[in-house]
Amino acid sequence: MIYEKNRRYIIPFDDVPADRAVMPEISVDERRGNFTEVETGFPEDVAVNEAKRCLSCRRCLGCALCWAECKPEAIDFGIKPREMELTFDEVVITRGQDNAFEKINAQLGFGNYADVITDLQFERMLSPTGPTDGLVVSPHNGEIPKKVAIIQGNVKGGDDHLLSSAVLGVNEAILAINRVNDLEVNLISPLCQAFKDKFSDDAKKVAGLTIIEATPESVERPQEGGPLTLTYSQNGGSKKDDFDMVVVLTKPKIAPEVAALGKKLNQDVI
């Protein structure tokens, strides 16, 4: 899915002031023993510059370029939404597709490094209908990775979570190995007993996958342009290894509005 255009999200124009304006205040010495207003307000030029920083976000801008371009005249800005009032005997509330997840250990570099991605993002990457048509590429440099780590992001997420995320990790590894020749995948997670009992034997048969029972501690890129270094602790000791891409296993979370709906209708969310 490559578009013939520069895929940048926000263009930092030179004439848009960059820094957020700071509210001027009276000094601490001037405050003692009186109730004079502390914040004195923006001067005019500061206010105008601050207002110019606004990105005027909206999604469709209504520029109608697509409408002008569409030969079959399929685009119609006037199509109205359909409002319905329906009555049901029963309601089933599910998590939906929001795919919210519990906070990941901040040391693992998610959000800092483009090539540290979530299991959900990796799933989209592996999907034939996904953004890369199923190709495995590092979002950091666009290259095909040779060595990938799949690591547990919530080591205290409970046994159920450790089990389902480890199975997902193994499955994602199988798919990735199938797509990339000679790909090496390490799955690094504290394993629960249920995983060892039910899935360990099958997982061991996957060529190219190594399962390491350990706790991931941190991910860093010591050298600009170099690989990611993962530190994990195993049997009281600390180990380091380099990877081209890191996938973090996440613990699913129910979105607050879905939870609120469940509470209101007295239903468990599945």
Binding site: D19, T36, R53, L55, I75, T94, G96
Partner: protein
């Protein structure tokens, strides 16, 4: 078996599975999904796959092809209410704005679209254009346009932020102020005190820092003041005769009156127990954050629309609730949360009023000039904004030393971080991981407090780590005044005994989501008496909702 109508909320893998199951059992199933496609093509988490069967989901085809399943993609469940064992659902299927029967998948629209946005379906992994398809095999082309920009959507009163910030950028300050007043009658006050959830949501934060929206609002309000412009709030020609009573001249009551006056109601009376308007804005927010003169002016502008404010009139004492309901066609309760909660520690009751003053009383008496001059040391207990306000007020009053005791650390403190920093900056002594054990006194007045050090243990239900006392770490601080600033509750004594207005277990009112009406027709409520102690702009939102509800109620009588 009798056929049932089943609503499935969410079209992810769980939703599709449930739909297949329910439809298979002979029920009529409706799936409501936000995204433009069902999303059940997921990698399984309960079995090990082979590369060929990883994304297969037989249930998905079953659901797509079943005559018993109606799939509403790109749809929102707006409201669901339970009634008599049935569920009434309001569903809105959003407009795709693309007629997919005509679309020939040439992608020309995608090439020209200038808007790039994160693609939610691909987990924000890539960008999509505003017009795009969703999933190359199952998604329909759609033009994504939010109802409102994210700041406006986040603002409890949906202020048109993008418009007024744009007007400021163009130098049209008074137009910007008019835009704000279209929904908010207190721009100068809210522009000073609001903790601005809009800025927390602002998209600019992903580039560098959010826009300073709140202070820009204050700026335009200050421009009007500096230029000595007296705006007149217009009321329509056509007037409504009904009489409306409003309890409390706080942000919710004032906004309710403002909106009703703009709809043409001319018999609006606000009953205010205090001698001053503004509610918590006057007696809770200290002068150094919000000058009273400015607040008074904004209230005067509302009063000039023909709204009568009866000061020093406490409902339940000067006029009963029953009498009010007889005399007026509709009543709005915006009484707020003006009762400080207790510490529950030994010595507290004994020295109540003899050195122990809860934060609500402390701030109120200071604002009304009823406090004796500061002498000695002051201890404030708590970590919210009211605690910080009390401490900064005490510091200004001239107490020798001002302490804030909080049982967790700065990280867990619920107060706005910039307020905590300001207090520290001014010289307030913050003691984290400390809790009160006993109030000490000489029999007549408070002399100090015994405290204990805490450490953080395991997380509790709120996700914050629970503080645990450290044995043998007790210490004493000398103090003349101790201000517990734990939380604030409602005081509903004005309702009188045997009131038929239902009160829930939090001692607040349950009101209708859309109209703000209580269980009693004609009696409405909004602000902190509904939400519990909350921010001013949410109280404003409660007042606005009730104004619409009152109009609807009175016009349909």
């Amino acid at each position: 078996m009798e056929e049932k109508k089943v609503l499935i909320v969410g079209g992810g893998i769980e939703g599709v599975r449930a739909a297949a199951q329910k439809a298979g059992a002979g029920n009529h199933v409706t799936i409501v999904e936000k995204f433009p496609t069902l999303g059940a093509e997921r990698i399984p988490r309960d079995r090990i796959v082979t590369p060929d069967n990883a994304f297969e989901n037989p249930e998905l085809d079953k659901v797509r092809n079943s005559p018993n399943v109606e799939i509403l993609t790109y749809s929102d469940l707006k409201k669901a209410t339970q009634n008599d064992g049935k569920v009434l659902a309001k569903i809105s299927k959003k407009s795709l704005r693309v007629d997919n029967t005509k679309c020939n998948d040439c992608k020309a629209c995608i090439k020209v679209c200038p808007v790039n946005m994160y693609d939610d379906f691909d987990e924000g992994f890539t960008f999509r254009t505003a017009v795009d398809y969703f999933n190359s095999t199952t998604g329909e082309y759609n033009i994504f346009k939010e109802d409102m920009p994210v700041c406006q959507r986040t603002c409890p009163v949906n202020l048109d932020i993008r418009t007024y910030v744009g007007q400021i950028a163009d130098g049209k300050y008074l137009n910007a102020l008019a835009t704000i007043r279209g929904r908010l009658p207190l721009p100068g006050s809210i522009g000073r005190v609001c903790p601005h959830p809009c800025e927390t949501a602002c998209n600019r934060q992903y580039l560098d820092n959010p826009i300073s929206i709140c202070f820009l609002k204050r700026y335009v309000a200050d421009v009007e003041l500096a230029q000595n412009i007296e705006p007149a709030y217009k009321t329509p020609e056509k007037k409504h005769p009904e009489k409306i009573a409003i309890i409390g001249a706080g942000p919710s009551g004032l906004t309710c009156a403002y909106d009703l006056a703009r709809m043409g109601y001319q018999n609006i009376t606000i009953f205010e127990a205090l001698p001053v308007p503004g509610g918590y804005l006057w007696v809770g927010i200290p002068e150094y954050r919000l000058p009273k003169k400015l607040l008074k002016r904004e209230v005067d502008l509302i009063a000039a629309m023909g709204v009568e404010i009866k000061y020093n009139t406490r409902v339940g004492k000067d006029i009963t609730m029953d009498q009010m309901r007889k005399d007026f066609d509709a009543v709005f309760i915006g009484a707020g949360c003006h009762r400080g909660l207790k510490l529950q520690c030994p010595g507290e009751d004994e020295y109540q009023g003899k050195g122990i003053v809860d934060c609500v009383t402390f701030l109120r008496e200071q604002a009304l000039g009823q406090l004796p001059p500061a002498k000695g040391k002051l201890i404030v207990i708590g970590g919210g904004n009211a605690a910080i306000d009390s401490a900064r007020v005490g510091w200004r009053m001239g107490f020798d030393e001002v302490y804030i005791l909080y049982r967790r650390t700065k990280k867990e403190m619920p107060a706005n971080p910039w307020e905590i920093d300001a207090a520290e900056h001014e010289g307030v002594i913050l003691q984290y991981l400390a809790a009160p054990v006993e109030i000490l006194g000489d029999g007549n007045k408070v002399t100090g407090m015994k405290c204990i050090k805490m450490e953080l243990g395991e997380p509790d239900a709120s996700g914050r780590r629970r503080p645990v006392p450290m044995e043998g770490s007790e210490y004493t601080i000398d103090a003349e005044i101790i201000v517990p600033a734990l939380s604030q509750g409602t005081d509903l004594a004005f309702l009188g005994e045997n009131s038929d207005i239902a009160v829930n277990r939090w001692n607040t009112f349950d009101v209708d989501d859309e109209t703000g009406m209580t269980n009693v027709p004609g009696v409405f409520a909004g602000g902190d008496v509904v939400t519990g102690a909350d921010i001013a702009i949410r109280a404003v939102a409660g007042g606005k909702k009730a104004a619409l509800g009152i109009d609807q109620y009175l016009r349909s009588r």
